[in-house]
Structures are given as structure tokens and as C-alpha cells.
């Protein structure tokens, strides 16, 4: 490829692209005055070690998290992962609720200090039963 300077149109926007360096690992391009490094990936050799993408739990909302934490569905408590007095962060795993033959990890909808745990491992709970109370009532 001899040509090094291009005008690229993307969705109607013009980009001024100049290839500055290129080798088998990648290239360096100047796009509208800014330099970008482009790395080539060998598609014949996939990277099995690449992690499975993860997502943060959806942002909890002020209202959804007011009051104590209640059971979102009927099931059995199989594991408690925190104890009274623990400081917890939003999204932290609090307990495991087995329901529909599935381990459901119940996470904290908000940061706070655990005041009390209202259930024990092995206990069955119904929808809406209080699982955990926080020290601050917010």
C-alpha cells in the first residue's frame, strides 16, 4: 500500500487519516491531527484466556432500596455471606437464596451497615420476607 494519506467519510463526517508507521503488529495513524495506535490481532490464534465480559449490576435506585432487604421471590436460604455489624457496599453479595432449583445471589442494593440478619441458613422464605435490616433506615 503506497498511499499514506486518506480522506475517510463515516456517516457523513469527514476524517483526515494519515498512516505514519506500519508493521506486522499494527500501525500508527494520524486522524484529524490526533495519533492513534492500531493493534493487529491474529484471528487464527484466538485468545482463550480472554475473560468473559462482566457487567456491573444495574444501578440501584433511591426508592427501590429504602427500608430493609426483602426476599425477591420464595425459596430457601442456603448461605449467609455477611453478619450483623458488617459494612457492605452496593452490589456486595449478601446471601444465597435457592429458588427454582437455582442459586440466586442476593446483593446489597445499597451501601450500609448490617444491623441484623433476619434469616438463618436452611430457612424457607416467602416473597417479601425481611432478610436483612440496615442500621440507617434510609
Amino acid at each position: 500500500m503506497k498511499q499514506k494519506h486518506f480522506k475517510v467519510f463515516l456517516d457523513g463526517t469527514e476524517f483526515d487519516v494519515e498512516v505514519q508507521a506500519v508493521d506486522e503488529h499494527g500501525l500508527e495513524v494520524l486522524v484529524n491531527g490526533r495519533t492513534y495506535k492500531v493493534e493487529f490481532e491474529d484471528l487464527d490464534e484466538p485468545h482463550p484466556a480472554a475473560p468473559i465480559p462482566t457487567f456491573s449490576p444495574a444501578r440501584p435506585t433511591a426508592v427501590a432500596v429504602a427500608g430493609p432487604l426483602r426476599a425477591p421471590m420464595p425459596g430457601d436460604i442456603t448461605q449467609l455471606l455477611v453478619k450483623a455489624g458488617d459494612d457492605v457496599t452496593a452490589g456486595q453479595e449478601l446471601l444465597v437464596l435457592e429458588a427454582m432449583k437455582m442459586k440466586n445471589i442476593i446483593r446489597s442494593p445499597r451501601p450500609g451497615k448490617v444491623a441484623s440478619i433476619e434469616v438463618a441458613a436452611g430457612q424457607s422464605v416467602n416473597h417479601g420476607d425481611v432478610l436483612i435490616r440496615y442500621e440507617d433506615p434510609a
Partner: protein
């Protein structure tokens, strides 16, 4: 004797008039709007559309009312800006309620301007975007104000399924006027500054004694996570407008246009090995189905809709080899991926949007079934769950499904099975297609036989194993033709791309009828 007008003086007058219309609310109101961290209607339109593309309509319309001092408060354009312009080069109709003119109140003129805009949009087949910021009906105009937004509701309904309609909530929206966003396809709410409710905190306290704040009654958080009224939340106005532009990039201009496709930017043959180990072989272990979506569809193209509402289901738009598709999936990570009332409503509404606007549907199935319980039954899960069957059965767009793991009983049928005319159904080797889970089935089938056995536990385990061997793999369903093929998970992307290409021009004759009767 007055000077006769010259081209220059006429031009000057037009410029002065334009300037007056642009600052209709007056400097104080504009400053107050800015002080609240809010943009004015004109600034919002400018931030939303492609630069310089706006064409305003009826900027000089003014109201004709005199009661309660209204004659002292006439502003060119009244309380709304309407017009058309471009987003990503594509034409659409847009209106922005102007809070600086009488609180953006819904007046006779606002109603007439917006109604005219919708008529124009319907005739032209372009999407309609409303930038909402209004105190509600203009009380001083009496029934004229009510008539105005009723006209809008009627047009919202006429436009439903013909052109996409999006409501962007940038301020209050209360009382009857909430039904306009309620009727549109997507509602985007700005956190902190936007609120929606039929009756406000004061009325609620008088009538029911409940004390509730604005945010906890009808803020972005509530409507995105609890009520499901809103589909997206944005932290501020600029991101709400950017999100609206992004959403529009997935939508056709109208129901006669195919869904947009862009030159593919991702490898159609990509087979990501991470998919092969994504689903845990232990059927009790959860995983995040969004990881599957991310790895199958074009990189970074998934736009989740209703992300905070009924999280046991995941719906959203993505691209597959450049073509827009609607993705529906169960989410094993939330409430075991069960189908419940809210998830049913969420899935059914999304399917119907996609079908109305020619967007193919791709469904990823892994659900243990409908959530048992008195609360669900009394809440009408039959009525709500039926919406999913109805929506899939009614949909004539290309429909593809992949069974990732559990597909049991009624949930198997409703989640885009072949029986409700899904065009191609694939399964992963982890798929279990059965009337119910193995443990439950054994309890029902062998309860009597097992009851008196001294080795009951052992016998039960063996029966569960036997049931699993029979139904715990996709091959029984593959032998009977209930699924089309079993895939290595990593093959899913190229397989779906090929099937979608096959079905691109799918045509299904539709029987004439006034309309169906979806269980609501």
C-alpha cells in the same frame, strides 16, 4: 409620512421577530431555567439535532385567551417549539416544550402546533421525538387546554406502529399529560430533574394520607426500576439527548422501511471460544446472559432497553453483521431467570415494537419457568404471560431462537419455540428441553413408587438421572424435530447471521382483521 419598506428594513424586521421568538420567555425565565441546570427548549433542540439542521414551524403562533391575565402573557410561538431536522443525517420531527413560557403549560396553541407536527410526521413517515418539560394543562384556558392534549393522545395512537415515537423527559410531566409519553414507544427520563405522575404528592397526601417525595413517587429511578413506565434513565440532559440519538440509530423511519443496516464492522465468522464455557454445566449455577449477547452480536452494539426493570429478562437492540435485531433473553442471574408478570410485560411490549418496525427477533432461552406463588397467580400471570405467546405468535418478522440451557414447560413454548412459528431454533449442548425440571418431574411421576422404598433417596437420584438422560440434552428434541440443530456455542454467531440472511425478505400473509385482542 412613513418610509416605504425596503428589502433591508423587511429583512431587519424578520431578524428582530426571530430574535423575539427565540427569547420568548424573557431573560429572567431563561436565567431561571439555566440556574436549575436545565437547557432551554431551543438549546435542547440544537443539542439534539445534527448541527444547523433544524427547520422551525409556526414560531409566531400566539394564544387568543384573555382570562386570568393571559392577554398580558402572549409570547410568539407560545409554550412549545416544533419543527423538523436531522439525526445522523436522517429526517425526523421534534418538539420541545418551552418551560420559560408559562411553565411550558399545555395550551390550545401548543396542542395545535404539536398536532400539526404529528400529522406532518405521519404523512412523511418520520419518527417523532418530544422533549418534555411542562407543568401540565394551562388551567387558565379551561377546557381548551384539555382538548389540546387529548388531540395529542389521539395522534399518538394513530402514529403507534407507523412511525417510532420517543418521549424525552427533561422536567415535570404531571396529570393527564403523562398519557402522551405513556402512549409513545420509548420514554427516556433524566435523573433528578424529571418526574411523572398522575397525581402529585400533595393530592396523594390529602386523599390517602401517604407522604411521598417527588423522586420516590415518580422520579427516573422509580419509573425505570419499579413501574416500568420509563425505558431508559440518563444522568443529565445531554446524555438523555445523546441516548435518544443512539436509540434512533437502531430504528427505521417508519413501518414501511426496513430496519437500518450499516456496513458490517465485525467479523461474521468470529467464533468466540469463551461462549463454549459460558453456561455452567451445573443447572443450579447462574451466569450473566448479557455476556452471551456481547460475544454473539457485533461488538459494542447492544443497547439494553428497560435495563433496570424486571431484570430477570433482558431485551434490547443489537446489530448482527450490521443489521439491526431485537434481542430477547432470560437472565439466569436475576431471580433465576423466571418469567413473572413484569418480565412478561417487558418482553411482550418489546417484541411488538420490533414486529411493528420490521426488526428481526433473536431470543436466547434459559428459564426455569414461570414464578410460582399466590402473588403471581392473583396478579394475573396467566393474562400477562399470555402476552408473550401472543406477541411472538403475532410477529411476522424473522424470528430466531437459541436455547442455551433450561426450556421447561409453558416457558419453553412461550419463549419463541418452533410451535409459535419461530423460523429457526437452535440449541446449545447444555440445553434441557422438558415439561419440567428433572427433580420436579420425578416427584410427580414416581411419588407412589418411591414412597415405600427403603432406598428411597438412592432410587430418587437414579430416577432423576434417568430423566436427565432422556430430556437433559437437546438431542431428544432434535430427534423429534422440535429444534433445528445443536450448535457449539461458539458457532452461534455465524449460524445466526446465515439464518438471518435466509430470512431477510421473509413474507407472511396477514389475515385481514380490525385488530387482534391481546390480553392486556
Amino acid at each position: 409620512m412613513t418610509d416605504s419598506p425596503t428589502p433591508e428594513s423587511l429583512g431587519r424586521e424578520l431578524e428582530e421577530r426571530r430574535q423575539q421568538a427565540a427569547e420568548a420567555g424573557g431573560a429572567d425565565r431563561i436565567a431561571a431555567q439555566h440556574k436549575k441546570g436545565k437547557l432551554t427548549a431551543g438549546e435542547r433542540i440544537a443539542a439534539f439535532l445534527d448541527p444547523g439542521s433544524f427547520n422551525e414551524l409556526e414560531p409566531y403562533r400566539a394564544h387568543r385567551h384573555t382570562a386570568f391575565g393571559l392577554d398580558e402573557q402572549r409570547a410568539p410561538g407560545d409554550s412549545v417549539i416544533t419543527g423538523f431536522g436531522r439525526v445522523h443525517g436522517r429526517m425526523l420531527a421534534v418538539y420541545a416544550q418551552d418551560f420559560t413560557v408559562l411553565g411550558g403549560s399545555f395550551s390550545e396553541v401548543q396542542g395545535q402546533k404539536v398536532a400539526r407536527l404529528l400529522d406532518l410526521a405521519l404523512d412523511s413517515g418520520v419518527p417523532v421525538v418530544g422533549l418534555m418539560d411542562s407543568v401540565g394543562a394551562r388551567i387558565q384556558e379551561g377546557v381548551y387546554g384539555l382538548a389540546a392534549f387529548s388531540e395529542l393522545f389521539w395522534r399518538n395512537t394513530q402514529a403507534s406502529g407507523v412511525v417510532p415515537q420517543i418521549s424525552v423527559m427533561l422536567g415535570p410531566c404531571a396529570g393527564g399529560s403523562v398519557y402522551s409519553p405513556g402512549l409513545t414507544d420509548f420514554v427516556i427520563m433524566t435523573e433528578g430533574s424529571s418526574h411523572m405522575f398522575i397525581t402529585g404528592p400533595k393530592v396523594i397526601e390529602t386523599v390517602t394520607g401517604e407522604k411521598v417525595g417527588l423522586d420516590e413517587l415518580g422520579g427516573a429511578g422509580v419509573h425505570n426500576s419499579i413501574s416500568g413506565v420509563a425505558h431508559f434513565a440518563a444522568p443529565d440532559e445531554h446524555s438523555a439527548l445523546a441516548l435518544t440519538r443512539q436509540l434512533l440509530s437502531y430504528l427505521p423511519a417508519n413501518n414501511a422501511e426496513p430496519a437500518p443496516r450499516i456496513p458490517p464492522a465485525d467479523d461474521p465468522h468470529r467464533m468466540d471460544a469463551r461462549l463454549d464455557s459460558l453456561v455452567p454445566t451445573d443447572p443450579g449455577e447462574p451466569y450473566d446472559v448479557r455476556a452471551a449477547i456481547t460475544l454473539i452480536f457485533d461488538t459494542d452494539t447492544f443497547l439494553e432497553v428497560h435495563a433496570q426493570f424486571a431484570q430477570n429478562a433482558v431485551v434490547g437492540f443489537a446489530r448482527l453483521h450490521g443489521a439491526v435485531v431485537g434481542v430477547v433473553a432470560n437472565q439466569p442471574m436475576a431471580l433465576a431467570g423466571v418469567l413473572d408478570i413484569d418480565a412478561s410485560d417487558k418482553i411482550a411490549r418489546f417484541i411488538r415494537f420490533c414486529d411493528a418496525f420490521n426488526i428481526p427477533l433473536i431470543t436466547l432461552v434459559d428459564t426455569p419457568g414461570f414464578l410460582p406463588g399466590v402473588r403471581e397467580e392473583h396478579g394475573g400471570i396467566i393474562r400477562h404471560g399470555a402476552k408473550i405467546v401472543y406477541a411472538y405468535s403475532e410477529a411476522t418478522v424473522p424470528k430466531l431462537a437459541v436455547i442455551l440451557r433450561k426450556a421447561y414447560g409453558g416457558a419453553y413454548i412461550v419463549m419463541s419455540s418452533k410451535h409459535i412459528r419461530t423460523d429457526v431454533v437452535y440449541a446449545w449442548p447444555t440445553a434441557e428441553i422438558a415439561v419440567m425440571g428433572a427433580e420436579g418431574a420425578v416427584q410427580i411421576l414416581y411419588a407412589d413408587k418411591l414412597k415405600d422404598r427403603p432406598d428411597r433417596e438412592q432410587a430418587e437420584r437414579e430416577s432423576v438421572e434417568a430423566f436427565r438422560r432422556e430430556f437433559g440434552s437437546p438431542f431428544a428434541a432434535a430427534e423429534s424435530g422440535h429444534i433445528d440443530d445443536v450448535l457449539h456455542p461458539s458457532e452461534t454467531r455465524p449460524k445466526l447471521i446465515a439464518a438471518l440472511e435466509l430470512l431477510r425478505d421473509k413474507r407472511v400473509p396477514i389475515r385481514p382483521r380490525k385488530h387482534g385482542n391481546i390480553p392486556l
